[in-house]
């Protein structure tokens, strides 16, 4: 939190920096907490409500701590026409939570993602940002079960399905090198 407060000080103090500040909070803290909202409001010289509004309007911002393993289900039409909706039902049944929720122990979460245009991998999910697809329904069930057992899909010996790292933008590329933090930078541009 102190780190975030420090980085926040480097942003110009006006409302136009709202999205930047919220992105910074999420990158640093993993989610937008009430404390973060208070800090942003003070720094940008707006009311807390003026921060709370955007923070809850945009789908990207989370209001609870992220799960350890986040499965993002692609909701795009290209996935839909090849069985994407079935993939969602499988993950919901296996995880025992609905779309947009975490499992009670916060180990796993199933969230909705918007089409990112890698439609030739449809149907797909992203596990902690990595595109995994095309998934058959059998593979979906197996993937969900392995994740439940706490396995990292990248360490599977036989790699039964295509797994490709997605492109992450870490704090370094977005906020300049002085803001770099220790997130994984798989596939980030040099």
């Amino acid at each position: 939190m102190e780190r975030f407060a420090g980085l926040l000080q480097q942003l110009p103090r006006h409302q136009g920096q709202m999205l930047r500040a919220l992105h910074l909070a999420q990158a640093e803290l993993g989610w937008i907490s009430r404390d973060a909202i208070r800090l942003i409001a003070r720094h940008l010289r707006v009311t807390e409500a003026q921060v709370y509004g955007p923070a809850t309007f945009y789908a990207e911002f989370r209001h609870s701590p992220p799960p350890k393993t986040l499965v993002t289900w692609c909701s795009g039409p290209s996935c839909r026409v090849v069985g994407g909706d079935r993939v969602r039902r499988i993950f919901e049944a296996e995880f025992g939570c609905r779309l947009g929720e975490n499992t009670p122990d916060d180990e796993l979460g199933l969230w909705l993602g918007q089409c990112n245009g890698t439609c030739e991998k449809a149907p797909m999910v992203w596990v902690n940002g990595r595109v995994i697809g095309p998934l058959s329904m059998v593979e979906s069930v197996k993937l969900a079960r392995r994740l439940k057992q706490g396995e990292d899909p990248l360490t599977w010996p036989e790699r039964p399905i295509k797994i490709a790292p997605a492109t992450f933008v870490d704090a370094e590329t977005t906020y300049g090198s002085e803001h770099a933090h220790d997130s994984t930078s798989d596939g980030a541009v040099s």
């Binding site: 409302q15 136009g16 955007p54 839909r80 079935r86 499988i90 049944a93 918007q114 979906s140």
Partner: protein, 636 residues
């Protein structure tokens, strides 16, 4: 050419020379979002070792558009032109390099060979490839050829030359030139960009802003992403020229958060452009100042609407406002502003460099020039390409895209994103320009085209689009958020076998109401369902009258049945079922300790079945999906 630009150009050409006319083999690796999803970054990590051994140079490039062949690699040899190969798996890196650099790549690297981008003896030209041949690559000319992370290479092929010319021009003359070229808003509106710029030029200053709409929210559209990832300087140059033409000295590029690589490459391009002085203070010694910043979106579709976008740039919730006032009167921070699509800005440097007449050589009267299209869905060859306006949709989707794979038949087309509507396969002959689409009650939109085949359900797709619109409604007007909620409810009911003929009237009433929504999001929401009623009426009637889903995807209208009890695969299917709804029925009279050996019939416990199809994948001969209501009738 100003002396300042000449100096920059010469330095850049010098820096880029080794890659422009290679004296040793040069290997270009496509590193864009879609190729990275196909493990191009692993390939990129695997290549340096064999490349050093074979004494070749490696280079990162954007995409050529051949998405289905990713990861695509191009090998340019001094003794041979640039030859494109793909897909090259990471584990094949050294094997591939050796083959492509061997004496006879046509045979040795035959498994990867796609075609020669520049003439190479004995190798089929890429221009003869059905995907490549009909294209007219203007915006995409340097995509997949230059390194998007190096400004040297962009300048060496002519970037910022048009800006150098434009800073010496009269703003009105630039507006007139763009108006004469007839470039329309590429986001789908098609409003002449030159006209829009004149509004801003005429607005009182001194503060004016430009906004670039790169919030490409339409699922299935990735034109802007490819532009920003493969040739970011084209967009920056276009915006700087627009700045000169309209008197704006500051711009915002609003990029959606789902495009991290685009954000990173644009940030980098901006940094490099500032360092070179091609944007910033006193550009090329002309006294013209222009700078840009990137605003990162946060996952809101409605921010693609220009007033919503402006609200989002201002740090508010991205809720659209009623126009007027138009952005040219009151835009970002209440100052006069202009919003254009990324592709619109990218066209501007080409027009300034080549003139309006050149621009109009292709395209139609209503839509001059070329357009990038991203094609996906049930296609043999999904990807991104640039063709002249006015080309037949069949030529694009069936010719370039190869139509549906595995002999499936096209059923319909979904142009223009969730708000674009649906077209039946019989409309494949439509020309790709706005008027014929508008006449059919759909939108050409921003360039995404999704083909679907007979396996997809038009009703299910419509429900998906309506759900999307409901979800993404900003919530300001009841017409929109309430209307889309009712629409989803009606479609949901139909898909559960509870549809009635009155529902058609109800859909019509909702459609009418939604047309009174405040912004285009609400007004376009009923386009999908209107397409369903107009063009897929038969399918809808089967849902309503016969309680049957011909595509068998609606869980409410289908059921899974075990047809062969003896299939051993059922054991595995039962173990895999996510809800454990496949089990053997208890055998009557069996002793408790015999339970393990009791072999009752396999049953599917229907209330807990989630229709996920996993069991049928494992035991396709033993499990069948049936129409729920028809099966029950035949049983009785």
């Amino acid at each position: 050419m100003s002396s300042a630009y000449e100096e920059i150009r010469e330095a850049a050409e010098l820096a880029a020379a080794p890659r422009r006319s290679p004296t040793r083999p040069l290997v270009r690796v496509d590193l864009s979002t879609s190729s990275v999803a196909a493990e191009a970054d692993r390939l990129w990590e695997a290549l340096p070792a064999p490349a050093a051994e074979l004494d070749v140079d490696l280079m990162r490039v954007g995409t050529l558009g051949l998405s289905w062949l990713e990861p695509v690699v191009e090998v340019e040899r001094p003794d041979m032109g640039a030859v494109v190969y793909g897909p090259v798996r990471p584990e094949q890196a050294s094997e591939f390099l050796a083959a492509a650099l061997g004496d006879n790549p046509t045979e040795q690297a035959a498994q990867w060979l796609i075609g020669a981008r520049t003439p190479a003896p004995g190798i089929p030209a890429l221009s003869d490839h059905p995907f490549w041949g009909p294209q007219e690559r203007r915006l995409m000319q340097w995509m997949g050829v230059i390194d998007p992370e190096s400004i040297d290479e962009a300048i060496a092929v002519g970037a910022y030359e048009a800006l150098d010319h434009a800073v010496g021009m009269d703003p009105m003359a630039i507006c007139d030139l763009v108006l004469a070229a007839g470039v329309g808003g590429r986001g789908g509106g098609g409003f002449p960009a030159g006209q829009k710029w004149k509004f801003l030029l005429g607005a009182p200053g001194p503060t004016k802003y430009l906004v670039c709409n790169a919030d490409e929210g339409d699922p299935g559209a990735f034109v802007n992403r490819v532009l920003m990832e493969s040739d970011p300087h084209l967009v920056i140059e276009g915006m700087a020229i627009a700045g000169k033409a309209t008197g704006a000295d500051y711009g915002f590029i609003y990029i959606r958060d789902e495009y991290p690589l685009s954000i990173a490459r644009m940030e980098l391009a901006l940094e490099q452009a500032r360092a070179r002085g091609v944007i910033g203070q006193d550009i090329f010694g002309s006294g013209f100042d222009f700078d840009l910043e990137i605003t990162r979106g946060a996952g809101s579709y409605v921010c693609g609407e220009e007033t919503g976008l402006i609200a989002s740039v201002e740090g508010l919730r991205g809720m659209p406002k009623i126009r007027p006032p138009f952005p040219a009167q009151k835009g970002v921070f209440s100052e006069p502003s202009n919003v254009n699509n990324t592709e619109t800005y990218a066209n501007v440097p080409l027009i300034v460099r080549n003139g309006a007449a050149w621009y109009r050589q292709h395209g139609t009267e209503s839509d001059p020039g070329t357009k990038m299209f991203s094609i996906s869905g049930a296609l043999e060859r999904p990807g991104i390409l640039e063709v002249p306006f006015g080309m037949g949709m069949d030529e694009l989707l069936l010719g370039c895209g190869g139509g549906p794979p595995d002999g499936h038949t096209p059923k319909g087309i979904q142009p223009g994103g969730p708000l674009g509507g649906l077209l039946p396969a019989s409309d494949l002959g439509l020309k790709l320009e706005r008027p014929p689409f508008t006449e059919r009650g759909v939108l050409l939109g921003s360039g995404g085209l999704i083909l679907f085949d007979e396996r997809a359900s038009a009703v299910d797709l419509t429900k998906y689009f309506s759900e999307f619109c409901e979800d993404e409604s900003c919530g300001r007007c009841t017409t929109c958020h309430g209307g889309s909620q009712r629409l989803v409810e009606v479609l949901e009911r139909i898909m559960h076998g509870d549809g009635r003929q009155e529902d058609l009237e109800r859909i019509g009433a909702i459609d009418k109401t939604l047309q009174n929504a405040n912004c285009l999001h609400g007004q376009f929401t009923p386009y999908a369902v209107r397409g369903l009623v107009n063009y897929f009426r038969d399918e809808l009637d089967v849902h309503i009258e016969e309680k049957r889903d011909p595509a068998r995807v609606a869980p409410g209208l289908t059921r899974y049945l075990i047809t062969d009890q003896s299939d051993p695969a059922l054991e595995e299917a039962a173990a895999l079922c996510p809800t454990s709804c496949i089990a053997r029925a208890p055998v009557e009279g069996a002793e408790d300790d015999d339970a393990s050996e009791a072999q009752g019939d396999w049953r599917i416990h229907e209330p807990s079945c989630i229709h996920c199809d996993a069991c049928r994948e494992i035991a396709p001969d033993a499990i069948r999906v049936e129409d729920r209501f028809l099966t029950m009738l035949s049983v009785v």
